[in-house]
């Protein structure tokens, strides 16, 4: 995508955001909403600037938890997907529990994680991983199982072993599926990290965005709270974008350069 077309693609959502800010500002002014309920956008911006350093630090800490969770998801989800693709029995008997990971209310499980693993980064990472692992498992399994039957026959012509099939056909062939799964998981990992921080925190001095959100809401610092929410949203977007970009780069290598030579 060229820079010009990227700018063209970014313009409509940017306009929507500006319109949203305008409507928000008007609503605050016209309805005379108290600032502790809905602070006007300018005040939120002021708070964001005033606490820029803390917000950046908090975002970095949350990003660490989210990235750790995403990394764990990729490793564990990848291994589970491989297991599912290799054994029908394992897939059939364990898949319901994979769905359980998807449906379990993470706010209910997070306290249990804290009980087991204590407060701190490890529990944040674990919460983020639980929330983000499912797309990796499902996408990965699909990618590993869905192989062109002609390619299976090609490998059968060479009497390829199961391991050869896995390493030389299924795993490389499933890269687009894992990349698609990771894109979804990236956003989920941020949510998981913030929820994890609600319960696990990082300790009194190190506040992630989740802890900032919890603290500011308790103290009715609503403008700061809004700023933290925006920071969390931004972090999710950045992580999603980064994973999407990495996936795209990997896929471009995978597909080979498509320039024509003739």
């Amino acid at each position: 995508m060229s820079l010009a077309s990227a700018a063209r693609a970014a313009l409509p959502p940017l306009l929507v955001f500006l319109a949203f800010l305008g409507a928000w500002h008007l609503a605050c002014a016209v309805l005379a909403l108290p600032a502790y309920l809905v602070p006007p956008p300018a005040e939120v911006a002021r708070e964001a600037v005033a606490h820029a350093g803390e917000l950046a630090e908090a975002a970095l800490l949350t990003a660490l938890g989210a990235l750790g969770g995403l990394g764990l998801s990729l490793v564990v989800g990848g291994l589970v997907a491989v297991l599912f693709s290799q054994s029908q029995v394992a897939a059939r008997s364990l898949y319901p529990y994979a769905i359980f990971l998807q449906t379990v209310p993470i706010v209910a499980v997070a306290p249990l994680i804290v009980v087991w693993f204590g407060t701190g980064l490890q529990s944040v990472i674990l919460t983020a991983a639980i929330l983000s692992v499912f797309p990796i498992i499902t996408n990965g399994t699909t990618g590993l199982v869905r192989v062109d039957p002609q390619l299976l026959e090609l490998f059968a012509m060479s009497d390829a072993s199961r391991l050869q099939l896995l390493l030389k056909l299924r795993l490389p062939g499933s890269l687009p599926y894992f990349a698609a799964g990771a894109k979804i998981s990236g956003g989920l990992a941020v949510i998981g990290a913030i929820v994890g921080e609600f319960f696990a925190g990082f300790g009194a001095d190190d506040l992630g965005l989740g802890a900032v959100i919890l603290q500011t809401s308790g103290r009715l610092q609503t403008a700061y709270l809004f700023a933290a929410i925006f920071a969390a949203t931004l972090l999710g977007l950045v992580l999603f974008g980064a994973v999407a970009l990495l996936g795209e780069l990997a896929l471009r290598r995978w597909r080979g350069r498509e320039q024509t030579l003739h």
């Binding site: 002609q150 390619l151 026959e153 060479s158 030389k168 062939g173 024509t260």
Partner: protein, 260 residues
């Protein structure tokens, strides 16, 4: 154990094949192909042409009857890399270079890497793709992809080549050129060839014989020798002798289709 040279290279007797769903693909099919012969198989779509190739390759089991290749079970022939399959699609792995795709069968057989490279270089030279060895398959045209696929099949120097409508998706001119190249490769190596096609002209151009299958369940309704001189090239297509042979095949094919 190798059969005497006079024995047919492919010896199928009374082949019955059913798909897992219960549909009968082939019924009582007898086919003998002498070593070094190029046989075209043609028939209405869905008649079990591809199934026949898969049974000869040992990829699909025969429900009844016997199949022997060089006097052996197809699986054993496969194990000594004496048979290769060219699929309908190029089936190149996009994440591998053309060269890495071509040497794949040897890599899977755990042949030493230097031998893989030498054989892949030779096979690529054979199909005129040497300068694209390092290219990604995505950079190749449809015809070049099919050539790479052909090189991959020939990299093990097989005695038997099975082709499943390999040029069917290509445009007319590219197809003509690839048929010419296939004929040249065959003249050079004299492998036994079983080529499934749905194109009458292609069948007559390639085949020493054209075997016409009936609609499913497929059985042989005609086995026509094609007495056109070799070496053959696409230019042959315009001649009256070619037209006569093609007309004969077409008539038999039409009869096979109507009988369904």
């Amino acid at each position: 154990m190798t059969a005497p040279a006079s024995a047919p290279h492919i010896d199928a007797r009374g082949l019955d094949v059913r798909f897992p769903g219960g549909v009968q693909a082939l019924r009582g099919l007898d086919l003998q192909v002498p070593r070094g012969q190029l046989v075209a198989v043609i028939g209405p779509s869905g008649c079990g042409k591809s199934t026949l190739l898969r049974v000869v390759a040992g990829l699909a089991p025969a429900g009844a009857g016997t199949i022997a290749v060089a006097g052996e079970a197809p699986e054993r022939v496969r194990a000594r890399r004496a048979v290769a399959f060219v699929f309908q699609d190029p089936t190149l792995l996009p994440w591998r270079s053309v060269h890495a795709n071509v040497r794949l069968p040897l890599e899977l057989a755990r042949v030493p890497r230097s031998e893989q490279d030498t054989a892949a270089d030779a096979a690529l030279a054979l199909v005129g793709l040497s300068e694209f060895a390092a290219a990604s398959p995505a950079a190749l045209s449809g015809g070049m992809k099919m050539r790479a696929s052909l090189a991959r099949a020939l990299v093990t120097r097989p005695e038997l080549l099975l082709l499943d409508e390999p040029f069917g998706a290509l445009d007319e001119l590219t197809r003509e050129r690839l048929n010419d190249e296939l004929l040249q490769l065959w003249e050079r190596d004299r492998f036994t060839g079983l080529a499934v096609t749905h194109n009458v002209g292609e069948a007559v151009l390639l085949g020493d014989r054209v075997v016409v299958l009936s609609a499913r369940p497929g059985r042989i309704v005609a086995d026509l020798p094609i007495d056109l001189p070799r070496p053959r090239r696409a230019a042959l297509v315009g001649t009256p002798e070619f037209a006569a042979a093609a007309a004969e095949v077409r008539a038999r094919l039409r009869a096979a289709d109507v009988a369904a």
